[in-house]
């Protein structure tokens, strides 16, 4: 609707091809790209002639961290797909760096594109003919229908309740501020600076919690909590070592919170993965089967992802069967080890199969390091199947996280301004921005909500 904004999206198909593109279009596209890109030869995007490529790195302007090595195509209006200034950032770091590049672009001033919006702009700017326009309409219809469905699904859950309650608190606070502005003659209780801050802090914390709890945000920050489980001697530690060896990306080695668990950090296709290695592995045969299962189950409880290791060279053990059954409720990849030996195993259908399909069984040989690529791909897919472009569920999800972050930024400015004892008409701007951002998630924003709240909370009427 706001056709004057600069929009951004990951424009390559979902999946894990080597190269992905983050695309920007709009009057600020060059400026925004410049904020997050450092050319290897100190070249400025805005000064680059149209239809040229620059080599360099995407940098987080907040902490100067290098995100990815990229090629940036600079295309200036009007000879572009949308007839607006466009920038395409070609990255090959996999889905996660691509998402971070998109995030940076959004923080630097772009807005996440609506479904079909690039094409829509192309049409509105006279780039497409009428027949193509029909196709755009169909696309918008299909995509909005799809996202409408997921929005409904998400709004049924506890998330919606939480967002609604944040919105209610925001409206309450805004009603105080607005009533104080619009009804100076009225005998209404005013909010002390401290109360105002207390309420704002509550809202801020609730937003923060929501953002942190968002799957994508949590994985990025804390890593994908992964448990390797299996009975002793199936090759759990060799698998871990193989993954570490293969990846060469160990960041730290931290003793676990309990003596029983060791954590290893590694990076799989750009996804930070935190492997909780059950202590049972190390102690091997000394430990009773019972105890091993117990520990495995405990590790499973906390995990985002379970790697259930089976020994392909032997038939299924009762413990294996028990673990398969227990892991049915979790996001599990069945890893059949020792593929270099003659295979005796016969994996029975278990609850997991109906849900996740065939891709969840991977054959490897930890010893010979075969099948590790496939395993890594499978791990990445499991994470991203819920969070990649193209899956409408995540488009909305990213949108939600972004909106929540916007609201949080507004609340932070609100707090700063309250501390400076800024006049309420300025405070109100921050609250309205926060409300608008929240409204984007729920799909409603109306100034009448604040007025309604004023009239129901305060006795107005001189």
């Amino acid at each position: 609707m706001h056709t004057e904004d600069t929009i951004a999206a990951i424009s390559t198909a979902p999946g894990h091809s080597g190269i992905g593109i983050v695309r920007l279009s709009g009057s600020d596209a060059l400026k925004i790209a410049e904020r997050i890109f450092l050319s290897a030869r100190q070249k400025k995007i805005r000064k680059t002639p149209s239809h040229r490529m620059l080599y360099g790195h995407i940098i987080d302007p907040a902490n100067k961290e290098t995100i990815d090595e990229v090629l940036v195509s600079v295309m200036k209006a009007p000879h572009t797909y949308t007839r607006e200034d466009m920038v395409e950032i070609n990255s090959h770091g996999g889905p996660v760096p691509m998402r971070r590049i998109l995030d940076l672009a959004l923080h630097a001033g772009a807005r996440l594109a609506e479904p079909g919006e690039f094409t829509q702009r192309a049409f509105l700017n006279g780039r497409l003919d009428l027949v193509q326009a029909e196709a755009v309409i169909d696309l918008i219809n299909a995509l909005t229908e799809q996202s409408r469905k997921t929005a409904l699904v998400q709004l049924k859950g506890g998330l919606s309740k939480k967002i609604q309650s944040i919105r209610e608190e925001l409206i309450d606070l805004a009603a105080f501020v607005e009533a104080y502005i619009d009804f100076p003659d009225e005998d209404i209780e005013s909010l002390s600076l401290n109360d105002m801050k207390k309420r704002a802090l509550n809202i801020q914390q609730a937003l923060q919690k929501l953002i942190e709890s968002s799957r994508y945000g949590m994985i990025l920050r804390e890593g994908l909590k992964t448990a390797i489980i299996g009975r002793p001697n199936v090759g759990k530690s060799s698998l871990l070592n193989a993954l570490l060896e293969h990846d060469r990306a160990i960041v730290t080695e931290v003793p676990g919170t309990t003596r029983d668990v060791i954590e290893e950090y590694l990076n799989i296709k750009g996804i930070p993965v935190r492997i909780m290695d059950t202590a049972g592995i190390r102690d091997g045969k000394d430990i009773a089967e019972k105890e091993g299962v117990k520990r495995s189950l405990k590790a499973m409880e906390d995990a985002d992802l379970v790697l259930l290791v089976l020994d392909g060279s032997s038939t299924l053990h009762t413990t294996d069967k028990e673990l398969i059954e227990k892991s049915g409720a979790k996001n599990t990849i069945v890893v059949i080890n020792k593929s270099d030996l003659p295979q005796k195993i016969n994996v029975p259908p278990h609850p997991l199969h109906g849900k996740a399909g065939e891709g969840t069984v991977v054959h490897i040989s930890a010893k010979h390091e075969t099948g590790l690529d496939e395993l890594q791909r499978t791990i990445a897919e499991t994470v991203l199947s819920h969070s990649t472009e193209g899956s409408a569920e995540v488009v909305t999800n990213t949108r939600h996280v972004y909106a929540l972050e916007k609201a949080l930024v507004s609340m932070e400015s609100f707090m700063t301004e309250v501390d400076k004892q800024t006049s309420p008409e300025f405070l109100s701007i921050e609250l309205r921005d926060a409300l608008d951002a929240i409204g984007d998630i729920i799909g409603i924003t109306t100034p009448d909500d604040i007025l309604n709240r004023i009239f129901s909370n305060f006795c107005i009427g001189k």
Partner: protein, 640 residues
């Protein structure tokens, strides 16, 4: 024999909307007639004797900058002037004026009388004449008074032909007054209502609804003990409402404040069954921001007292308006309730409070010019459109008068954006969203509150008033001088730097931290503790600079960051407003638009995509589809 008179523009009703409409039409060169049922009630303030207040003074100052009358008359009639919200920033300052009712009527009537090209007529309107979807004129009955009184022998109903008719009848359409469980038809207390006219409008196919409002009792000053009340004086010197007023000359009077108490509340609660509000007699919807005292007591039980402002009705009047206890309780209960209040123990009621129900026309049936969509040349302005308040009415009257005139000149419409004026917010809200209760303006309704200040109404709108011919050359010239002076002083303070040894003693006095190097005056002025006088002390301007210029320099410098931020938002907003939806655009058949949304779009018929997006229930996805459909339509017509 029917007599036939010709006017270009006829205005029905001489309240706040009607007067502005008639003056604007006549000033824009059209032969205009204004009709009222009573010459003595021209410019009547039917509710509280005050003009302005939050968001309302913003409207009045916008009317003023566009060449309207309300601010000037307010200054002539004002008996207490006060700037509200002085402790907050200038965007939410508002001037509130207590006005002498009689003076207001007299000066407004005088303004109409001296206006060239404007006739004033005391006749009752019976019907609006329409032919083939166009307004043709009106049918009147020259006999004032109740419609039940037959016409005098020899006097006949008259027809007046006109090219445009502006209806500004306030609460008179089917007005029904309630005092206790008793009710009777009236437009205001003591004045007859218009029943035929409402039927006539309904007959034209306009959808009509019902609203309710009320007034408090008026008290006799001799019976009030002011000595036990809190006194409230106005500002000294009184700050005028109009740009063009040099000085306020009326003597100034204070207001007084007292409170209800538990006894008052009990009296009300004991008598709710006699209240038309609580016994279900009143069906119309009342305003939540102006509840009756019955409502306040019932809905806000936890409040142990409610404030009452006693406002003088005028210099020559001994009557006080008891603001805060609007009521429709029976007369005997009103007396008991009033006499339970501190200082009012012996109070006599001159006029009892009452509630009034009246018809209004659902405003989404209007274009943003306030012309009805179904009948060309028929305009509606004021309370008839579901608003409340003199200021809201006057703003609409002005807009209707201007647009009726532009239409007769075959010129494009005059529509103000939400980013330009509260008038724009008001009319856009009405025609886009409609209203469920009497609509009053609040600053919180404006998205760009920091841009729409009362101090810059002239900078925003005076040029437009001049283009319309409502601001004269002399007024325009003095405005241009002011604008130039602001620009030059802003430039000077940006380019003038002062040395630390000059400014630091001043900063020190103000409790600010010292500067280490040469600093520009505008940087210094941005500090919260620094005012214009302080930087002028360090580096005075060579020219003499008037206070209104200083105010602008100060505001525009101090709030520059915020103002820029809102201006950027407003610019984006404006660009979406420029995406015009052609008149007569067909919504049906657009792939993907639900029937519900199509119906909403067809009802409002938005002018542009921005307005379309503000219609409740129209989704962003629908706007995307609409945008493409509009572009497709344009492409089609270009290809042909």
């Amino acid at each position: 024999m029917n007599q036939s008179f010709d006017y270009d523009i006829i205005v029905i009703g001489a309240g706040h909307a009607g007067c502005e409409a008639a003056l604007a039409a006549a000033r824009m060169g059209f032969r205009t007639a204004i009709f009222t049922m009573s010459l003595d009630s021209i410019g009547q303030m039917s509710c509280n004797p005050a003009i302005g207040g939050l968001a309302k003074s913003h409207l009045v100052k916008e009317i003023d900058a566009l060449g309207g009358e309300m601010a000037k008359i307010t200054d002539l009639a004002g008996i207490q002037f006060k700037i509200l919200n002085k402790s907050k920033g200038p965007a939410v300052w508002a001037t509130r004026v207590q006005a002498d009712r009689a003076l207001y009527r007299r000066h407004m009537r005088r303004a109409l009388e001296v206006q060239a090209g404007l006739d004033i007529k005391q006749e009752r309107i019976e019907e609006i004449l329409i032919a083939r979807g166009n307004v043709r004129g009106i049918k009147t009955n020259p006999v004032p008074g109740h419609e039940s009184i037959p016409a005098h022998a020899g006097e006949e109903k008259r027809l007046y032909q006109a090219k445009a008719v502006i209806v500004a009848t306030g609460t008179f359409l089917n007005g029904l007054i309630h005092i206790g469980l008793e009710n009777f038809p009236a437009g205001r207390i003591g004045e007859p209502s218009s029943i035929h006219l409402s039927k006539s409008l309904n007959g034209l196919g306009l959808k009509i609804g019902r609203l309710k409002t009320g007034t408090p009792p008026r008290l006799d000053a001799k019976s009030i003990d002011f000595s036990v009340m809190q006194i409230q004086e106005g500002d000294v010197p009184p700050p005028p409402m109009s740009l063009f007023t040099e000085k306020i000359t009326n003597p100034q009077l204070p207001c007084y404040m007292t409170y209800t108490n538990a006894h008052t509340h009990q009296t009300i609660l004991d008598n709710l069954e006699h209240s038309p509000l609580y016994s279900g007699v009143i069906k119309g919807i009342g305003p939540r921001y102006c509840p009756s005292i019955e409502d306040k007591v019932v809905r806000f039980k936890e409040k142990i007292r409610h404030q009452i402002f006693l406002e003088p009705e005028g210099l020559d009047s001994d009557e006080y308006y008891a603001n805060g206890i609007s009521t429709s309780l029976p007369r005997d209960v009103q007396i008991k309730m009033v006499q339970s209040i501190k200082g009012l123990e012996g109070a006599k009621i001159n006029k009892y409070g009452y509630a009034i129900e009246y018809d209004f026309v659902y405003p989404p049936q209007l274009k943003p010019t306030l012309e009805t969509k179904i009948i060309e040349g028929l305009f509606l302005a004021g309370q008839i459109n579901g608003t409340s308040g003199y200021e809201e009415a006057a703003a609409q009257g002005l807009v209707a008068g201007i647009n009726a005139s532009l239409k007769l000149k075959n010129k494009g419409p005059f529509v103000l954006g939400r980013h330009e004026a509260y008038i724009g917010v008001l009319i856009d809200d009405l025609v886009t969203k409609g209203t469920q209760e009497p609509y009053r303006m609040f600053t919180s309704r404006a998205e760009y509150r920091l841009l729409l200040r009362q101090d810059n109404a002239d900078l925003r709108l005076l040029e437009k008033g001049h283009e319309l011919g409502l601001i004269n050359e002399q007024q325009h010239a003095s405005f241009l001088n002011k604008k130039a002076a602001i620009a030059s002083e802003l430039k000077r303070i940006k380019s003038t730097r002062v040395k630390p040894h000059v400014i630091n003693p001043i900063l020190n006095k103000l409790g600010g931290s010292p500067v280490k190097e040469d600093t520009s005056l505008d940087q210094l002025l941005k500090r919260p503790e620094v005012r214009y006088v302080n930087i002028a002390e360090a580096a005075p301007s060579g020219n003499s600079i008037s206070q209104d210029v200083i105010d602008q320099v100060e505001i525009q410098t101090k709030y520059t960051g915020y103002i820029r931020r809102q201006a950027e938002h407003a610019e984006k907003f404006r660009k979406v407003e420029e995406k015009i939806i052609p008149e007569g655009f067909v919504y049906k058949g657009i792939n993907g638009l639900s029937r519900e949304i199509v119906e909403k779009l067809e009802e409002v018929r938005p002018l542009n995509l921005g307005q379309a997006g503000r219609i409740p229930g129209v989704t962003p996805a629908a706007i995307s589809l609409l945008m493409i459909a509009v572009a497709k339509g344009q492409r089609h017509s270009e290809e042909k």
